[in-house]
Amino acid sequence: MIYYKSIFNKYILKIGIIIFFLYLMIFSLYNAFNQINKNLETIKNKWEYRTINIVPNDDINIENDLKKFKNTIEEYYSDSNSNLKYTITFKNYKNVEQFLKKNVNHYKVIEKYDYQETNESKVLIIVKVIIKIINVLLLILLSIFSIQIVSKLSKDIALYKLIGYSQNKIITFIIINLYIYYFLLFLFSILTFFYTIKLYNILFYSFYKLNYLLNANNYVFIWKLSNIPIILSFIIIIFKIRRYEPIKLINSIN
């Protein structure tokens, strides 16, 4: 606790607020990313893309095949005029290919709508790429601010060296404390993000509902990503600790 108290000055706390906002931004963008994926799946799962009209070939018992795929079939019926023409609607567009592949040569496909990229879906994919690019820029910002935090620790490092701490000791306690700091910021921003969405939905429920689509895996992934700039700043601080002379503390104040 003393170490924590000794190295966290006002400046580091202020940068911490900026980093908090950076995390919020990354969560929001990731959430939008997931929303777009959800929309894309909805487009791909339109009724037409999950439905086929087939006529079984001779000697094929269609009921058997349908039974095997019972779980994936939403509904099916046979044509009243000719009870050999079947219309099958699957639950997911992926099931169509599965069914046909499994039952190769069993059926003559009369009607099948293959998914064509619509213009909306193409644009959604482009928006996904834009989100990724902005996320990379945010990570770069995160690096810049992490390095700024580290650069503000020069005086503290010099003081500890002056008192007689070994390099390893200084490295250890600075890195551990900074890492805990980042992690606490991360957790706090998750909570803020979650409650902001809730608040937004309460205030603007008639306008557009924000879906909260981040799960634990997403957060773990984002944490792992944001570790890159953090570790980069740690490498710099290790380098700094090795090089920084306590005499500079004396010279900087005098």
Binding site: I2, S6, F8, L162, I163, S166
Partner: protein
């Protein structure tokens, strides 16, 4: 502590020789004072003594150990265990209380446990008259009190060498006397105390007096 032919040259456009052939020995149980005009090299000398900067040529040994063989990290560790440094500007951590400022110095000592560390830090602060100031921050302490905290921090690991660079530079007369008294007392307990100062009253306290003039160290015989 033994210095033989220590030279310090700063290599710049015009080479600046700050210390010229300094040879001197410091023994335990004595209070050494180094006086001189500003720019004479006293701060450079004491920084070399405190293993803060390196010298250009010569030998510096402490208890037979040649300092030039040490890496920077080794010097830091050695300093922590064996040298207590006191500065004109105190160099306390503004965000820690007096007790905590002294406490962080005790973490080097692996032999003490948590309780013992706190006890040692408290004792030394009480001994220096700061019993009521343990939980005050440096901004809440007077100049003299801050310097005493700095001295406590320098002493807490019981180092054999105490170095002070203008310890009373920022203090008033009353506090000056107090600080020199403390330093004198420390020197009697079998430690080497070296103080750099341009304050003439130091003559009353020191056992050996040196003067520094343009990089040359000379002993001065005087009456106490």
């Amino acid at each position: 502590m033994n210095l033989e032919n220590i030279n310090k040259v700063y290599y710049m456009k015009k080479n600046l020789q700050v210390l010229k052939d300094i040879s001197v020995s410091f023994k335990k149980g004595k209070f050494y004072a180094i006086m001189g005009a500003s720019g004479s090299g006293k701060t450079t000398l004491i920084n070399i003594l405190g293993l803060l900067i390196s010298y250009t040529s010569g030998t510096y040994t402490i208890d037979g150990i040649n300092v030039s063989n040490m890496s920077n990290n080794d010097k830091d560790v050695f300093r922590g265990k064996n040298i207590g440094f006191i500065f004109q500007s105190f160099y306390l951590n503004e965000r820690l209380t007096a007790l905590e400022n002294v406490l962080i110095a005790t973490f080097i000592n692996k032999e003490l446990n948590r309780k013992e560390r706190k006890q040692v830090a408290r004792n030394i602060l009480i001994k220096l008259g700061l019993k009521d100031r343990l939980n005050h921050y440096p901004s809440q302490l007077s100049g003299g009190e801050q310097q005493r905290v700095a001295i406590a921090r320098a002493l807490v690991n019981d180092p054999m060498i105490i170095l002070a660079d203008e310890p009373t530079g920022n203090l008033d007369e009353k506090n000056e006397k107090e600080i020199f008294n403390i330093l004198k007392e420390i020197s009697t307990s079998d430690k080497i105390v070296i103080v750099v100062s341009h304050n003439p009253i130091i003559k009353r306290y020191c056992d050996v007096l040196y003067t520094m003039n343009k990089g040359i160290l000379k002993e001065v015989k005087h009456d106490f």
